[in-house]
């Protein structure tokens, strides 16, 4: 860090925003102990995230109980990534960019395995990163955040569908309150088969009826004639 950078006054608002984001991430980690444990393995490691436009740097120090975020650090990061906000969000948080938007390059230096593990943990956390990062991303990522929100709603719709299916399975298979789709189908097949049997029986009766008048006057007819009756 240059002497000029060191003399820049730390901003109260930006520091507050960073503290808010840090608290949100750590809260999310506390609700997901498995991810927190995976992250704690990297305690002491530092990731530097440099945003090109607007120029901004965030340093994330992994600690035993979560992360600590800083705007500046004199330490050498274990891994450093540099790029536009959207490209970084796409890389680190697996945000799908808006259709038609071509992502730019992200410079990565340092330990890529560490970065990959961080990406995996970030994805597994299942939290709304858009909302969490809003205090520091501001309006810069607003459109991307909107798109992410739509993805979130899409996820919610899928979740509702899954829930409906699971509820159907429960009512159908486990509770026995209503027949399953397959039971209904098989029942329908049975009904169809029965209906066709009835139709066939009806046809046979009709045929027997049509033959009956001709047979009744000649009751003395030979037994061979009756043997020709349809079965």
């Amino acid at each position: 860090m240059s002497l000029k950078d060191q003399s820049r006054s730390p901003g109260l608002l930006s520091t507050t925003a960073l503290a808010t984001v840090e608290r949100a991430i750590n809260t999310a980690l506390r609700s997901d102990p498995a991810s927190a444990d995976r992250l704690a393995v990297h305690a002491g490691r530092l990731i530097a995230i440099e945003v090109t436009l607007p120029p901004m740097a965030i340093y994330g120090l992994i600690v035993e109980d979560g992360v600590e975020l800083y705007h500046r650090s004199d330490a050498t990061p274990d891994v450093a990534v540099k790029g536009s906000p959207m490209d970084l969000a796409s890389l680190l948080l697996n945000w799908k960019t808006r259709p038609g938007v071509i992502g730019g390059p992200v410079d990565i230096t340092g330990n890529r395995d560490f970065l990959q593990e961080l990406q995996q943990i970030a994805n597994d956390l299942q939290i709304d990163w858009g909302a969490i990062l809003e205090p520091i991303t501001g309006s810069e990522l607003a459109q991307q955040l909107d798109y992410s929100a739509r993805r979130l709603f899409g996820w919610a719709k899928q979740a509702a569908t899954r829930l409906t299916e699971q509820l159907g399975d429960y009512v159908g298979n486990e509770s026995g309150l209503i027949p399953s789709r397959r039971d209904v189908y098989e029942f329908g097949q049975d009904v169809d088969e029965l209906r066709m049997d009835v139709d066939r029986l009806d046809a046979r009766i009709q045929r027997l009826k049509t033959r009956a008048p001709s047979a009744s006057p000649s009751s003395s007819s030979s037994p061979q004639d009756s043997g020709s009756a349809p079965h």
Binding site: L12, D65, D74, A75
Partner: protein
């Protein structure tokens, strides 16, 4: 009467301020100790209340300007309950060291427990010291911080000289302290708030209004930004500067040893 005797008499007559009171020079230390012994158990809660949480943000800003790296040795002077020491412990890593120092044993007890609870005992030391005569070797620390503590030291010039002595060349001192608001309207509102509300909160939370009356008064008796910067220059610090925070209610002074 020899020189030593004359000095003793002069010291005996010397007075300093304890809030708005004038007290014998030797008594301030004990009076300040009494204040912090009284509030130690709920010091952090009171800090959150009277600063409305802003002290945490100000300490974060201090950490960012501290330039701590893994392997550094850091002295958190008047570190009390260990807010900064815990953060420094994580920043200096396994190869670094943090010394949490305070003159007050009650505050150190709280700080020691918090360091243990935060899993920082492996690279921290807790020690009771007088900031005016630090018991460390010359050129020992990469960084010294004193947050909301310099105000309570009787001989601030001696303390600054002592800090300079134990800093390594290239090391830095950060002084986070209440200061003088830069806007007169803000100053008036701040005066009203601190004198009317803080003692009442002190009475309510720790059953001690006097300690928070002292806090409000001691802030007004503390040197303003430029005066403190001058004192740091006089002590021998280089490239001194300060950053006003919350309109100058708090200022962060920084100086280097070269």
């Amino acid at each position: 009467m020899n020189d030593n005797t004359r000095d003793d008499v002069a010291d005996a007559n010397k007075v300093t301020h304890f809030g708005y009171q004038q007290v014998p020079w030797q008594e301030k230390q004990q009076k300040v100790a009494g204040v912090f012994r009284s509030v130690a158990g709920k010091y952090d809660v009171m800090n959150d209340l009277i600063s409305m949480g802003s002290h945490r943000i100000l300490k974060r800003m201090t950490i960012e300007l501290a330039g701590i790296r893994p392997g550094h040795k850091v002295l958190d002077l008047a570190g009390g309950t260990g807010d900064l020491a815990i953060k420094f412990s994580r920043l200096v890593g396994e190869t670094g060291q943090v010394v949490l120092a305070d003159i007050n044993d009650a505050m150190l007890d709280v700080g020691r427990d918090r360091l243990f609870d935060a899993g920082c005992s492996h690279n921290t030391q807790v020690t009771q010291v007088n900031g005016e005569c630090l018991p460390f070797e010359d050129n020992s620390f990469h960084c010294i911080t004193i947050a909301f503590g310099l105000r309570n030291i009787t001989d601030k010039d001696a303390a600054l000289r002592s800090m300079l002595r134990v800093l390594k060349p290239g090391g830095r001192l950060l002084v986070l302290e209440f200061s003088t608001p830069t806007n007169k309207h803000l100053a008036k509102a701040y005066d009203t708030y601190s004198f009317a509300v803080w003692p009442k909160l002190g009475k309510l939370i720790v059953n001690d209004a006097d300690s928070y009356q002292y806090l409000a008064e001691s802030i007004r008796m503390h040197p303003d930004q430029d005066t403190l910067q001058g004192m740091m220059d006089t002590a021998g610090f280089a490239r001194t500067e300060y950053f006003n925070m919350i309109g100058g209610i708090v200022a962060l002074h920084r100086g280097f040893k070269f």
